[in-house]
């Protein structure tokens, strides 16, 4: 049967029409096909092919003709649709986009280019971030909100919206997450495994995930919550509790880990209840509340980031409850005798008067952990992030006495990149503290992974060398203790970074916890009179 379809006043380029004709002719059930403009020449052609002249006589040159000789009416109808599909080519929003990272001018068009998008990563200024986050949530995307300075009320409203839609709002002020093995923002390339982490802190999450990797296990997902999630009663752990609920049902997650500063009591109770009812072993580390809580069944309370990782790995390797997990890690916990012996060896190299520790940190939670360890015993450690104002130095740029500084704190970063990216501020402090004859130990963290400086060890080697030389010139010895948060798969390479430090005479400890302990024991040894008179 012959069928003619006319579309009035539709201009199409002839190449398109030839393409459509070509495609239709190959279609099953189509004996003859012409897709063309109704020019007199084409009309003649069609008449020659046996199409009815009467039907063609009304067509004008600006009209599109689809002329078909088909075996069935159905085949003809299908062919007409196919022809129109070919000439009205599917709109391709990516057409003309240059190769490489795709750019768009708006969130809405980004979703046209990437309709399957499921995560919005937002690092806009804090003033604008909530609006963007809300739009992303409304469109059904999970959100990682890197931005800081987001008002508390906005956080509460966004998290309510997110929870009502079952979406994760990671943040605000969330710098680290690992989703499906992908490190996001500041995060490490960690082996995948059974441990699901929820963490209120970026470097805390980085340290725990890297140590889990080092201890032979891996991470299923690592969710950042933002620092206020558990600390503020109104935020009420909305992100933490949603993440735990998802972990509870996640086949890939066998062990739960929560890392946070101490939650407000009523939220702590909810989080603990969630962990206990998850039906999976869990480890909680509430930094600052060490040992105040007793293990409970298969919920273990850790007292350091390192112990958090160890316990998680013990559970991952089959420990049924907390006491079994503690038995499994017994031979891996810190050997204080060895640390004290090493501390004494080092202290003996110091001059009398070299008596203080100077912690120069880029990672906030790593700094917190060191401060907690050092201040807890020494009782006089100052820090710009100390909770007790009596121990906050008047000028955070100057070290007096025992000091542990968080150089990533707002005080140091206003108008500047974070020291994990730009080591400049720490280099200055290493040189300055190296010049101070009262400095006994410089304590450092090095955070590897995506987002961080490409060579954090290399960046401070020269300053460490100069500081050590200055101490030597005075007849003393400067002890530098560091730990490296990273994995072998990180772009910077864990062992390469560690060996560069060791080559410069830095004592590299296997965790921040141990680095802080060694620094502590050196100061204690000094106080006990270990230094030699020269």
């Amino acid at each position: 049967m012959k069928k003619i379809t006319v579309r009035k006043d539709s201009y199409y380029d002839s190449v398109f029409l030839m393409l459509a004709t070509h495609e239709l002719k190959k279609t099953k059930g189509i004996r003859e096909a012409v897709v063309a403009m109704a020019t007199p020449m084409n009309l003649d052609l069609l008449v020659g092919l046996g199409f009815a002249e009467a039907q063609l006589s009304l067509a004008r040159p600006n009209d599109l003709l689809i002329a078909l000789d088909a075996e069935t009416g159905e085949a003809a109808d299908q062919a007409v649709s196919a022809a129109l599909a070919i000439i009205n080519r599917k709109k391709d929003p990516a057409a003309g986009v240059a190769a490489g990272l795709a750019h768009t001018g708006s969130f809405a068009s980004a979703l046209k280019v990437l309709p399957e998008a499921n995560l919005a990563l937002i690092s806009l200024p804090g003033l604008h971030a909530p609006r963007a986050a809300r739009k992303a949530l409304e469109r059904g995307l999970h959100v990682m909100l890197f931005s800081d300075n987001v008002p508390l009320d906005d956080e509460i409203n966004l998290k309510r919206l997110a929870v009502s839609k079952g979406l994760l709002l990671m943040g605000p002020d969330c710098g680290t997450a690992i989703i499906n093995g992908n490190p996001i923002c500041f995060a490490n390339v960690v082996r995948r495994g059974p441990v699901g982490i929820v963490a209120a802190s970026g470097t805390g999450l980085q340290e725990v995930s890297c140590l889990i990797d080092r201890f032979g296990s891996g991470v299923s997902q690592a969710i950042g919550t933002g620092s206020r999630d558990l600390k503020d009663a109104r935020v009420a752990g909305m992100t933490t509790l949603l993440a735990l609920e998802a972990f509870k049902h996640d086949q890939g997650t066998k062990v739960l880990v929560v890392v946070s500063k101490p939650p407000v009591p009523e939220i702590a109770a909810q989080v603990i209840a969630a962990l206990k009812t998850a039906g999976k072993p869990a480890v909680a580390f509430f930094l600052g509340l060490a040992c105040e809580r007793q293990d409970d069944g298969n919920l273990a309370f850790a007292s350091s980031l390192e112990e958090t990782a160890l316990l998680a790995c013990a559970f991952a390797s089959g420990a049924r409850d907390a006491s079994a997990a503690r038995v499994r890690i017994a031979d891996r916990v810190v050997d204080m005798t060895a640390i004290r012996t090493r501390a004494l060896q080092e202290a003996k190299l110091l001059l009398p008067g070299q008596k203080y520790v100077r912690g120069l940190y880029t990672g906030g939670t790593l700094c917190d952990e060191a401060l907690f360890i050092l201040h807890g015993t020494l009782g006089d450690v100052q820090s710009n992030i100390h909770v007790d104002p009596a121990f906050v130095p008047i000028d955070p740029r100057v070290s007096e006495g025992n000091v542990v500084s968080d150089l990533g704190d707002d005080y140091f970063t206003i108008g500047k990149p974070h020291p994990m990216i730009d080591p400049g501020v720490r280099i200055d402090r290493i040189l300055k503290d190296g010049q101070d004859k009262e400095t006994a130990v410089i304590l450092l963290d090095l955070v590897l992974g995506y987002g961080s400086h490409p060579d954090p060890a290399g960046a401070c080697l020269e300053a460490i060398g100069q500081a050590k030389a200055a101490a030597k010139k005075r007849g003393g010895h400067l002890i530098v203790v560091a730990s490296v948060t990273g994995t072998p798969a990180d772009p910077q390479g864990l062992s390469a970074q560690a060996s560069r430090l060791e080559g410069a005479g830095v004592i590299v400890m296997p965790s921040n916890y141990r680095a802080a302990l060694l620094a502590l024991e050196i100061i204690r040894a000094v106080r006990a009179g270990a230094t030699v008179k020269k």
Partner: protein
């Protein structure tokens, strides 16, 4: 607690939209993840009042804006602009009268008119025989006896100064889908011409010749040819390297091809016919005065649709840039006309340039011109230099438009339809201003075109429109 979406995230493939630090996107993209980077700007230019209006509009349930916009833009897509004839303005343009001068852009008084527009008004008065010399023309213009009204208020458009007087011949376009008409003068060519404010005897002689010889020839040929479908012609010229605003070479050629067979049939002296053809051939922008009223009559049926935030008019009078929004009636939102960034003809520089002027931005409003920049690589030198720049310009315009044209397509974008129907909400949300191709007039009357390039509209017109829209519909 509903955790299913999180479970889905854990089980699915991560796919990321990044707003902010590009390094985060590059890390993920480098790892092989699908990532799109949003080139974000503070919405509403960071103005909290405008942003509040934008958000209030988004939350308002008083009217279905998207539906209204679909209705508005559907009318633009359904339009069938057709050239049906040539007539004298006083006979065909609604409301035209002897003491009325139509001009480009939003309303403007003689006192506020820029140099080129004043020159064109004076030329118009001389052409009409209402004044004997320039001095008398200026005095008459300032006397209050002459009325000045925008072309747009009379279903008309005019390039540059856009002056239309009652005795000028105009193209008559009819939108066959809706029956409305639009009018535009015949293009005079380049150099010393009225639309650039020239009013010397040479200009007036040409205008009279256009009225007395050119217009009758074209009208006669058109009568033999029959109505000329502009939609298919514009669709073709976009595939021939024109944008329909700054480049009209293909369009002009097609008009000549369409009319030539009929021109030669006219019972007129051969010299007269030859002169008409030669005149069109010598003026690459002859087609502009057809693409403009085509756009105008396509857009007019989309005016006044309740709840629509689509822009139906953009126009400049050399002093101000103005827009009108479908759902906000006849109201103009105006701001200072910008300076054009572009290239200058030999002997001229930016110091000679007048502010942005003319109704020709009606082409962009209808989805061609600057919005179809990717179709016109030959004029990329006006806008940055590389074909990639022109692709980028068109691609950016998709961000602020309601739809893609079903007739006007761009080969270099895989025959994607041109971005059509500017949504004022999207302009304010993204901070992306409409890209406008345009010519540059000399700031002194009578010198003419000094260059061409790209001009940015003042952003306050879009902000003001959003605030008004919120007042009307929230």
């Amino acid at each position: 607690m509903n955790f299913e979406p999180v479970s889905k995230l854990f089980l699915g493939n991560l796919s990321v939209v990044n707003l902010g630090l590009e390094s985060f996107a590059r890390n993920l993209s480098g790892a092989g993840l699908p990532v799109v980077q949003v080139d974000w700007k503070p919405p509403a230019g960071g103005d909290s009042k405008v942003l509040a209006a934008l958000d209030a509009i988004a939350l308002s349930s008083k009217v279905d804006i998207d539906k209204a916009n679909d209705a508005a833009v559907s009318r633009v897509l359904a339009a069938k602009p057709t050239v049906v004839g040539i007539g004298l303005a006083r006979d065909v343009v609604p409301g035209m009268r002897k003491n009325l001068i139509l001009h480009a852009g939003p309303p403007v008084t003689w006192q506020m008119m820029c140099g080129p527009m004043r020159g064109a008004v004076m030329g118009g008065l001389l052409y009409e025989g209402l004044a004997k010399d320039a001095g008398e023309a200026a005095r008459l213009a300032a006397s209050g006896e002459i009325d000045f009204e925008p072309c747009h208020h009379h279903a008309s458009v005019g390039p540059m100064a856009g002056v239309i007087t009652s005795g000028m011949p105009v193209w008559i376009l009819e939108n066959k889908a809706f029956g409305n008409r639009a009018f535009c003068t015949l293009n005079e060519g380049l150099g010393k011409v009225l639309r650039y404010g020239a009013y010397s005897e040479e200009v007036l002689v040409r205008l009279r010749w256009m009225r007395d010889e050119l217009a009758p020839v074209l009208a006669g040929a058109l009568g033999l040819h029959g109505p000329m479908d502009m939609k298919t012609i514009i669709a073709q010229i976009l595939q021939m390297g024109d944008d329909g605003h700054n480049r009209n070479r293909a369009g002009t050629s097609i008009i000549i091809r369409e009319l030539a067979p009929y021109i030669v049939l006219l019972d007129e002296p051969r010299e007269r016919l030859s002169k008409a053809l030669a005149f069109m051939n010598a003026n690459d922008h002859f087609f502009l005065n057809l693409s403009m009223p085509s756009a105008k009559c396509s857009l007019d049926p989309a005016m006044g649709i309740e709840g629509s935030s689509m822009i139906v008019t953009m126009a400049r009078n050399g002093t101000e840039f103005g827009i009108r929004v479908s759902g906000l009636g006849e109201r103009w939102f105006t701001g200072p006309a910008g300076m054009v960034e572009g290239l200058y003809l030999p002997g001229f520089s930016a110091a000679d340039a007048a502010r942005d002027i003319g109704d020709s931005v009606i082409t962009e409003t209808a989805g061609i011109g600057g919005f179809a920049m990717a179709a016109a690589p030959a004029i990329v030198k006006f806008v940055g230099g590389s074909p990639q720049d022109s692709l980028d310009i068109t691609r950016r315009m998709y961000e602020i438009c309601i739809t893609e044209n079903d007739a006007y397509q761009i080969p270099a974008l895989n025959f994607r339809g041109t971005p059509t129907g500017i949504d004022v909400r999207k302009v304010v949300e993204t901070g992306i201003l409409p890209a406008i191709n345009t010519g540059i007039a000399h700031k002194e009357p009578g010198i003419g075109m000094v260059g061409a390039g790209l001009v940015k509209p003042p952003e306050n017109v879009f902000f003001d429109a959003i605030v008004a829209f919120a007042q009307r519909y929230v």
